[in-house]
Subunit: 303 residues, 2 copies
């Protein structure tokens, strides 16, 4: 079995697009019928999340290379939610999707290792993820345990570098020794990526770089030639296809573009919902996915 | 019921010390008999962790004000581990301890809110914690959802500022606009603390400041007069009572000093283990706890 980053490159080539579907279930946005008003217990919501996400997977697995599961929404529900997250991950993988868990974990030494062992590795971890997002504030010795476990298990890691939220600049844009902080993080991540390069030319260590800062995408793509980007912020957060173009290399590889609400809750968007019966929310998911694939086609993978 | 920070100040006054016992269970360090060699399944380890931590609580609850649960070690085990963590938290609280979950969560907007709702609040969250550690790389709009939920539920938040690990300096010590990055974080945390001050004079938002950088403790205590410190790095990581003295205000309040392995695995330390029979590992836990209380007495709470 190839390592995560080569599997990701293959999956992007096979599907012909770099769309990452974000599985961020929220009780108040679920299509009608999935969650009964009379039972809003954590277990009932967890069961509804699991069913909903698996139904989304049924639609998107033949179309896109990868899904990203947002741990927080499952975790809010407690242990039943955490069990539902494992079921969703297994289901997505058994339908051919690679799965990134967006959990932004971070700690030091053997504690970071415990997180990495819990999430990374299809057959060897509790949650079976192909990759995990991690947060860098604790420094280099907080990232290396994640990288080491990922390498051992053929998995991947995406480190937060320049995030899509308005407040991200509070620390990330502080100018330190003549450069914004996110560039210092970027250089470190690129070193980790260069040390873990697969056949596709990218490393097992990737970076999270938001779609909402296109100028930084241009700059970071140049600075980080071995680093695959996970790009949030497309769609609902305001990022467009033009904004994310710079995330790709000249073959159209090197980035995946995440869309969560814009795809999974497409039934709430009149642009899609009016074309489908109320009980056909999956039709809206498919239409939104195809529209995003179309929008990214001019900048996506070639050859 | 008072809010977390006032309850913490009361508990420190009542017990006469500022010791935080870190519940960081590791399978390879458990005392003999708790985990059978023939069953090392995740469920068996989770059950052993739960029993071990509850047995530690039996010893330390009458002695110290607060415990810190390390999420990673439970999380590594998957959903059974997450359920065990909830049991340990409930048990510790029902025995009179305040409980901080050390999970270093971080995200933005409604996602950060989901983590906060999952952890914070004794009666209103899945894990029932009194406080949660969070990581600041994503900026101010990543911290405010945690602070808001904490305020609503009478809970607390501890933000990573200056961590105890050797690699923490990679980002935290970068000099930005004439000051190291951790001071920028510190100023922001102090603003949040000053806006959430309780009767004890400290805010619902605290800071994690490592024992291994005593000069920074002095500096940050001055810079952050409304911020209660959670100080890791005492004992096994090298911090001494002299090192942490500066974390306290002149009444001996304003800080709790965490010790994990040094207390819970005291049975592995010859200094304690030779005084107790092999099956009396709880005797070693009690001796180690009392020794730390004694060591901190000259700098602890007065009046």
């Amino acid at each position: 079995m190839a390592d995560f980053i080569d599997e990701l490159a293959s999956a992007v080539r096979r599907t012909g697009n770099a769309v990452c579907v974000g599985l961020d279930p929220r009780a108040q946005n679920l299509p009608g019928g999935l969650l009964k008003a009379c039972d809003q217990s954590a277990s009932a919501i967890a069961a509804a999340f699991s069913k909903f996400c698996c139904n989304v997977v049924d639609v998107v697995a033949p179309l896109v290379p990868v899904a990203k599961v947002q741990a927080a929404f499952f975790e809010e529900l407690g242990p039943p939610g955490m069990a539902a997250m494992a079921r969703v991950i297994d289901y997505a993988q058994s339908h051919g999707l690679l799965v990134i868990v967006d959990a932004k974990r971070n700690d030091i030494g053997s504690t970071a290792e415990a997180y990495a062992r819990g999430y990374l590795g299809r057959s060897s971890s509790a949650w079976h993820a192909d990759a995990l997002t991690v947060s860098p504030y604790l420094g280099d010795d907080s990232l290396s345990p994640f990288v080491n476990v990922a390498q051992e298990r053929g998995a991947g890691v995406f480190v937060l570098v320049k995030t899509s939220n308005p407040g991200g600049g509070l620390l990330q844009d502080l100018v330190c020794d003549g450069e914004p902080m996110y560039r210092h993080v970027a250089r470190h991540v690129e070193r980790l990526a260069a040390a873990t390069v697969g056949e596709c030319g990218y490393g097992a260590v990737g970076a999270v770089v938001g779609a909402t800062y296109p100028a930084q995408l241009v700059e970071l793509r140049k600075l980080m030639p071995h680093t695959w980007f996970l790009v949030p912020g497309y769609g609902n957060q305001g990022g467009t296809a033009a904004d994310v173009a710079a995330a790709f290399d000249n073959r159209g590889f090197g980035a995946i573009i995440n869309n969560s609400r814009g795809i999974i809750f497409a039934h709430e968007n009149p642009m899609f919902s009016r074309r489908f019966a109320a009980n056909n929310w999956q039709g809206a998911v498919e239409a939104a996915t195809r529209e995003m694939i179309e929008a990214l086609a001019p900048i996506g993978p070639r050859g």
